[in-house]
Amino acid sequence: MIAPWDKALWRDVLAGLKLRPGRTLLAAGAIALGACALTVLLAAVAGLQAHTLAITRVLGSHTFAVLGAAPGGVARERLQLGDVGLLSANLQGARVSAVRRDSVAVPGHELTLDMLSTDENLAAVRGWQLVDGRFLDAGDLAYAERNLVATQALARQWGWHVGQVVDVRDVPFKVVGIVDTPAAALEATALAPDIVVRDLSAFVPESVAPDWVGGNDKVAPWGVDAIYVRAGDDEALSKAQHTAAELLTPADGGVSHLSWVTPSTLAAGLDQLRHLVAAVAGGVSFLSLILGAITLISLMLANVQDRVAEIGLRRSFGAEPSDVALLFVAESLGLTLAAALAGALLAVVILQLGPRLPLPVQLDSWVFLGPLLMGATLGIVAAWWPARMAARIEPAQALRQT
């Protein structure tokens, strides 16, 4: 038997593939293109999966959001503080929090600061970790304390620290805490922009809002943009969502225009994207691989036909039929693996150096293993018939060929 690590085998493989360089290059090119598309597909699928997990983490586990009116929008219903109380009172075992977002221009900058009026439950409901100090508490809410919790990014960028008094639109606030909100990186996604907390955001008690909003006519002080509900587990979450939907149905029995963001709605959005990617990259990959496989089979068949005398010679030197078959399988495998590897590397170069794709990608070991497995499978499948033909050639007949 020939050992796969046999140098002579790979030398034979190289010599065999050089016989028809044009057809070899065509087959290798098609397979490399297929492998490249497959690598992009796998990287995108892996990226989207990671993104799904990340965006679910942004929302918070076992958490759903009810979104009210968009800024200036009329398409959705206005959520009110009263709705928050209604849900808090009726959703047993669930924690409820609400947020209203007011964007404030920062003097001297083209930046805006998001002031998020909220209650003491928000950090716990969304599963955020405190970096320093504390989050807003019941006392802040009850006494309308002008206390503020900054995002970690904001504190780092503007040098805010706990205990510092800062002015926001000439209103003094005391920084009482710094919180880590793992959301800003996902702001680019269009899937759930309303639940994303921007880097430059600060949280203040919603009871301060009437003073704070002042002349801001965007929303009435009693309006909120989003209500978040966190339940103990998936089952409780589903039940809480059902109850909340009933409670928030308009009293006149009309159709509710509220938006509901749940882990499954986020995943569904990403699934659509994943299906699109799978259809496009998968289609390119499939067609390229079919072309590669057909070219490869024709190349291997032509190689067998061209090398009948050589096969006879090998048999006369003691090669067994299995040795002959293995030679052609090795040729096919050598070509497909090399092409698959080249295609995968090309994809990595494109993903790393090329223009940014409008979707997340993640390069892990499966992304490389997939095209190589595909190459190995294709190599064996394409070689099976030609190798069988070669092994069945009668050496005496073969040696009569000139």
Binding site: A15, A309, R314, R315, S316, F317, G318, A396
Partner: protein, 230 residues
């Protein structure tokens, strides 16, 4: 010492199935070759001499009768056993050389070791020695396709004897060569025979008969005579 003949045909027949029915390529062939003999086989086209060579080199199996190589019934031997015998005991030279044209002369000779476990250094030494025997050592690095016909055939002979065979079977080795090249090739075969290698030379060229010490003549698949030569 092995008393059995090197090669022994007993009532050997070879039949092929064709669309027109079964055709006998060889019938009732009886002869044996001893170690170190030089036997020439002649006959017109279709006389069965190529079939005889295929059987003698274990590339084919007889349809009936007994074919023994050093006493072993090779007609009934499993393919792996026949491959092993071909690998170690039989060298072959063909009319059309069957060299690998893109490889060097040395690589072509080394190809003889392709399915053997010989260490590379030993294989190279044996290949160089074989090239020395055929007078081509100085051409070891030449690409095979640039050689003349006579040189190609001498490379093929070097390849055949790089693993010292007990039987060297040559099928029309001078068929494509001019007179001078043919003489060189025959000289190589004779030199190998003189060092103890049995040679079975199949040819339609009656002039080559005198190189052997025995002559077998075939016609219509039957042996006409088996004659010792002076």
């Amino acid at each position: 010492m092995n008393a059995a003949p090197l090669l022994e045909f007993r009532a050997v027949e070879k039949r092929y199935s064709t669309a027109a029915g079964e055709v006998a390529a060889l019938s009732g062939v009886d002869f044996s070759i001893q170690a170190g003999e030089f036997v020439t086989v002649t006959g017109p086209s279709g006389s069965g001499k190529s079939t005889l060579l295929n059987l003698a080199t274990l590339l084919d199996r007889p349809s009936a009768g007994s074919l023994r190589f050093e006493g072993t019934d090779v007609g009934a031997l499993h393919e792996s056993g026949r491959s092993k015998l071909r690998k170690h005991s039989i060298g072959m030279v063909f009319q059309s050389y069957h060299l690998l044209p893109e490889r060097t002369v040395l690589d072509n000779v080394l190809f003889r070791f392709r399915y053997m476990d010989t260490p590379p250094r030993e294989a190279r030494a044996a290949a160089e020695q074989a090239l020395g025997l055929t007078g081509l050592k100085h051409m070891a690095d030449r690409t095979a396709r640039f050689l003349s016909g006579g040189e190609m055939q001498r490379v093929a002979i070097a390849r055949a004897v790089a693993v010292p065979p007990r039987l060297l079977a040559a099928d029309e080795p001078t068929g494509n060569l001019d007179a001078e090249s043919a003489a060189q090739v025959m000289e190589c075969l004779r030199a190998l025979n003189q060092v103890g290698t049995a040679v079975l030379l199949v040819t339609h060229n009656e002039a080559l008969i005198s190189h052997g010490r025995r002559h077998l003549a075939f016609r219509h698949g039957r042996m006409l005579h088996d004659r010792a030569l002076g």
